[in-house]
């Protein structure tokens, strides 16, 4: 079965520190990759997505992610975090090859980011 692993459950950083959140998935076929962010008390919002082309994807609010196919990874990065980045971050994978549940997102369990001012 497909799965998505986010290695860190809770990350605590000070403002201006650099951020990297890990995401690995198990499926070897054609995939779309997403990072969603959930601010406290709010719904999930799309941060960035990868479909094809340049494996380095830039999203909103200074976030970027790099797709490394050989490592089945799609890690999220930000050079300098702000207090307002405090949120929970979810990596998600969409398979394009399976029938039936084709197109359904498989979510990781999430990583909580706490940024200290």
């Amino acid at each position: 079965a497909q799965s998505v692993s986010q290695h860190n459950h809770h990350v605590i950083l000070s403002e201006a520190a650099s951020l990297e959140l890990g995401c690995n998935y198990s499926y070897g076929g054609t995939v779309n990759l997403f990072w969603y962010v959930q601010y406290p008390g709010q719904h999930l919002q799309l941060l960035l997505k990868y479909f094809s082309g340049d494996p380095l994807v830039k999203g909103i609010k200074g976030f970027e992610a790099e797709f490394i196919k050989s490592k089945f990874s799609f890690n999220l990065r930000k050079p300098s975090v702000q207090w307002s980045d405090t949120a929970e971050y979810f990596c998600a994978v969409k398979s394009l090859d399976y029938g039936g549940s084709q197109g359904n997102l498989i979510f990781g369990k999430g990583t909580k980011l706490s940024v200290k001012p």
Partner: protein
């Protein structure tokens, strides 16, 4: 543009009671989804629908039923609520995932329904 609207936002039920959560989207999306979000578990797919009149089971369908009588609405029902169903429920919608044109479209999420079963 309202996007994805969920009602109610909060609800407290007693064990054994039934209720229906409503999800409405105004983006003409074909696909709709119901997820539950539990601490440390991420989002898990309960049921989904690829079009009006069709539904399918997701990862955790037991204890839930769904209906998609109209394209814009996707209902999630709990016939006999159990404390294990205490969760935050999110509805989402997207364009068809079966075409390459839209295969990279993200899902749009509602604001969630916080449900407590006593």
């Amino acid at each position: 543009n309202a996007g994805v609207t969920q009602t109610p936002k909060f609800r407290v039920l007693k064990t054994g009671q039934s209720m229906t959560l409503l999800c409405a989207q105004d983006m003409n999306h074909e696909y709709m989804y119901w997820y539950r979000q539990d601490p440390g578990m991420g989002l898990r797919l309960i049921h989904y629908s690829v079009g009006e009149g069709t539904t399918a089971k997701g990862e955790v369908p037991d204890g839930y039923n769904v209906s998609r009588l109209k394209k814009q609405n996707f209902l999630l029902g709990l016939e006999s609520a159990a404390p294990s169903q205490t969760s935050v429920y999110f509805c989402a919608s997207s364009y068809s995932s079966n075409t390459r044109t839209f295969s990279n479209q993200p899902q749009h999420f509602g604001d969630g329904t916080r449900l407590s079963i006593l």
